[in-house]
């Protein structure tokens, strides 16, 4: 299979730099897959599972939250706010964070901001648990 060069950067550094056959990740409008020789492309990332198919056919899964994706001259850059490989996710912590967010949301007397924060936390926790669980 043809490969393309893929670079995944986060504020904590570069987490992936190399050749990939396919990249699938969730954008603000839905899942997209990038293959080799994709035209120049740019979009913002949503929250969800991402996976990279490597040259040897193996797949690496990750939780990818926020940021952007661009393809320029055949090179793909993923600039993610959070990118956690599935095997590095602390499933217990994610579950605990999910439970905490749910507990907060269960309260009735929340102001708008607290509500938003808790919902965002719940979403992140759900993405993490679903990626780690597979």
């Amino acid at each position: 299979m043809a490969t393309f060069s893929l670079k995944v950067v986060t504020p904590d550094g570069c987490v992936f730099d190399g050749a990939a056959v396919r990249l699938v990740c969730r954008t603000i409008t839905g899942d997209v897959a990038i293959l080799a020789r994709h035209s120049d492309y740019c979009t913002a990332l949503g929250m969800g599972e991402a996976h990279i198919v490597l040259e040897d056919g193996s797949t690496r899964k990750a939780a990818c939250i926020g940021g952007m994706l661009s393809v320029m001259n055949g090179c793909c850059h993923v600039v993610a706010t959070t990118w956690e490989w599935a095997d590095e996710i602390d499933a217990e912590r994610a579950a605990a964070s999910k439970a905490r967010a749910e507990a907060i949301l269960a309260q009735k007397n929340l102001d708008e901001r607290e509500m938003e924060l808790a919902q965002a936390r719940l979403k992140r926790a759900l993405v993490r648990t679903s990626v780690a669980g597979k």
Binding site: D12, C42, A44, M68, V79
Partner: protein, 284 residues
Amino acid sequence: MASMKDIKLRIKSVESTMQITKAMELVASSKLRRAKERVEHSRPYFETLYRTLYDIAAANTEFQSPYLTKREQKKVCYIVIAGDRGLAGGYNSNMFKAVAADAEGKDYCVLPIGKKAVEYYQHRGVPLVTDAFGIVGDLSVSDSFEISRMVCEKFLKGEFDAIKIGFTQFVSMLTQTATVLPVLPYDAPRPERGKARRELILYEPNSEAVFDAIIPEYLAGVVYGAMCESVASELGARRTAMDSATKNAGEMISSLNLYYNRARQAAITQEITEIVAGADGANG
């Protein structure tokens, strides 16, 4: 001349100060290494974001975004990043001076980051956006996103018309410069109408949506990058300040030692003179 005991005490106190400054210098240098690594790690993220935004803004004439429109700058919000502690030479005061020079004559509010910044602006009675980010050393990526979200929201509501960030650039181990950078409205070189490059990049769903989604990320990236730079600068400044303090203490000790020896010699001479005089008196 002070008595021998006084000088001895003085030397002791200078020695203990020197130990402290020496220890602080060592701590700062070891932390500095880690802080520098963090700066280097965060750079590619920020640069890619910046380049993409720049490309979008430069290639399109048609699209409008509230983040791009320049309003009359009635009120400016400064995000000021300073240190948590003093004893770092001019690090904190240089930062405040740079912001004050930039804000001269304007109506402004401040979002201070770092304990010294919070204290300084509280003391001066400058309106604060929030004082929730008191400790710069503990701030993480998610905090910078929190800051960005808060500021963007207020910017869109029109509570202020421009956002600037004041931080200390880490130029090298010995040089750190306090800088004030405008962040929003995003200042991109807009091509003239009709002269735009033909757009070859596919934006999904469209360039405006992508741009508006990325701007808060960009701001968070700027805040995070600035924070990393500032932390490194603070440590660098502290290291230099402590290094010179240690040197000064060393010099002081050697000159005090000289005094001490002189005082000792004078005392011995005096004693001998007294003994000789006494013996002379007894013999005569």
